[in-house]
Subunit: 361 residues, 2 copies
């Protein structure tokens, strides 16, 4: 008997903050970040397999990444790859995927996963997702995984927990969401013990999330509102191509999670990082005695401290006298900049594109 | 009628100080250092062509570079390429070439050139060499070109000039040679006005230099002492292979120039640099307003000063916050080090070889 459990893996992101390691045609989720021989996307799919059959894993991505996904995940059928005709953030992506899965199985429950995060504790991940699925299968509930914070990170969203859900391990009502607080507030959040990082991992039934769109995001609900026969059928591509570009670009947090009154958080320690920036990757990686991180490359460093070295391909770096730098070399581009300047990388990528052309970004 | 004027271009050097731009299998003289589309060797050969026919240009190199020389100089006949079976510095190289040319033409005069130097003033070069050839064709004289120094460089050899050679423009007897003085002495040399940089460019007749070997370097003279019939003949390769490895590794300066009593210097302003180090190349190259040099590459630099960027191939560098650095990227190696540390590069190359293997050097 086929399982009612599905997984949606969102893998359409651009990730320009990791330039030149990530590129327009090969963003972060498709890279072998840790030199394990597997991309973050491949690791994400493998991680969920103990709970969800490969036939029930749906990948949602931008059309331009169809080729690389087929190459990296040959076990996934073409009909399980949903190709967005435009970039519209997570809410439209999740709404489409929910309709698609609902058309396949109206009783489906769904785990929604980012494809470019780090999870070190795989068993804790499996246990938490398993418990979360049981939780949403028992009622009309939207669940997110909250990560025990270890520092006052200002790059994450924070979830404030409320009353405990009786009878469920570590699951509580959500009191509030706060996007990227300033440092002072992040410190208060950390001290209070009530706040958790928003992992971007969501669990709900197809029915619950579609009901939530109807109620909290009627514009998107209307755009994707069509009979099940339009989805998971030969009609789907033409239908999506006609409606998807009309959807607003908005995240699921803004569209649903911050508004709904049936949102819960399961708090868990996953050894998690969103790997959202070079600094996040730096923090998540093993350090040398001098505080250097060598990402997938051979480095001869003297008088270097706190520096992140990342290289695509077989290459050596000899460096001297660098303090708290990012050195990232990949293909036809080399980036050398202070770690403190990493927020400028997006802007740098735009300058590179403007000055030298698309082939460098 | 065939000219009696010959040129010996020495192009067997390794040049590890420019790693990773230069490599064991492609040292400095074979690189297009200035992005002109021509290697330093090609520029050297072109520069002497107004004075010496291509048929009279003899290249002396290590056997491993035969292929690259044929590729870069298709107009040079194989019989004009002398392949050393071992590395023995300049004196054995010059002695062999002199014998070879003497066998072709006992009346030959010879210009000996390094293949990896920069000469900006080509007409001054031609004029000086022309005058020098006439000078050595009139008598038993060894002539070197001395460069008007512009700063107290401690990396060069210095030539002290003595009495003027009557009737010759800018030619004087040599009083002394000093290899790489310390800074204080270099400053005194500069102030005195009597000292000139040793360019490594020599002019003499085949007969004079062979006579000088007999007198001042009898060990080398004996090793290469064979009838003309052994040279420039089918017997030459086997003969050289049997005797060359026995030669001591010694420079022409030590073996002959510092000892001989018929040495003259012609002083000249050539816009010359030996390009012996990254700093020499930095000094010889056009600078941006911030004092940066971009060698053959596209660079987006912010808050960088006094930095040398060099890249092999089509690549962009984005750099921020570097002060007085060398950034040199080529193939499978990237070097980032303070310009002040450039004397460590040789040692670094050895460490790279030891730690990671021959394929990176």
């Amino acid at each position: 008997m086929r399982s009612h459990r599905y997984c949606v893996v969102m893998c359409g992101g651009v990730g320009s903050r990791f330039w030149p390691f990530s590129r327009n045609d090969r963003p972060k989720q498709f890279l072998d970040f840790f030199g394990t021989g597997k991309s973050l996307l491949q690791l994400t799919v493998e991680r969920i397999l103990p709970l969800v059959d490969i036939e029930n894993i749906i990948l949602v991505t931008n059309r331009q990444y169809a080729g690389i996904i087929r190459e990296q995940l040959p076990g996934v059928k073409d009909s399980n790859i949903l190709l967005e005709p435009a970039r519209r953030n997570t809410a439209p992506c999740i709404c489409w995927a929910a309709h698609h899965i609902h058309a396949l199985d109206p009783r489906a429950s769904i785990v929604t996963l980012p494809s470019d995060h780090l999870v070190l504790k795989e068993q804790a991940f499996i246990d938490a997702i398993g418990e979360g699925l049981r939780f949403v299968e028992e009622g009309d509930r939207l669940l997110t995984l909250g990560i025990q914070p270890t520092n006052p990170n200002t790059g994450y969203g924070y979830i404030q927990q409320g009353a405990a859900a009786q009878g469920w391990e570590g699951i509580r009502k959500v009191k509030s969401f706060t996007e990227k607080p300033d440092l002072e507030m992040a410190k208060m959040f950390l001290d209070s013990g009530e706040f958790f990082w928003n992992s971007g991992i969501f669990i709900w039934s197809a029915e619950s999330i579609l009901k939530a769109f109807d109620r909290y995001s009627p514009e998107i609900a209307q755009i994707f509102g069509a009979p099940d026969s339009e989805y998971a059928s030969p009609a789907e591509t033409a239908f999506i191509d006609s409606v998807f570009p009309n959807a607003p670009s908005i995240s699921i947090d803004y569209a649903i999670m911050e508004k709904a009154d049936n949102v819960f958080v399961k708090t868990v320690d996953l050894g998690w990082s969103d790997l959202g920036t070079w600094n996040a990757l730096y923090e998540a990686s093993p350090h040398s005695q001098e505080g250097n991180v060598t990402q997938n490359c051979k480095v001869l460093a003297s008088e270097c401290t706190g520096t992140m070295f990342a290289v695509g391909g077989d290459k050596i770096i000899v460096a001297s006298g660098l303090k708290d730098y990012i050195v990232a070399d990949n293909g036809n581009a080399l980036l050398i900049c202070p770690r403190a300047d990493e927020q400028k990388i997006r802007q740098i990528v735009n300058e590179v594109k403007g000055s030298f052309g698309d082939e460098y970004v």
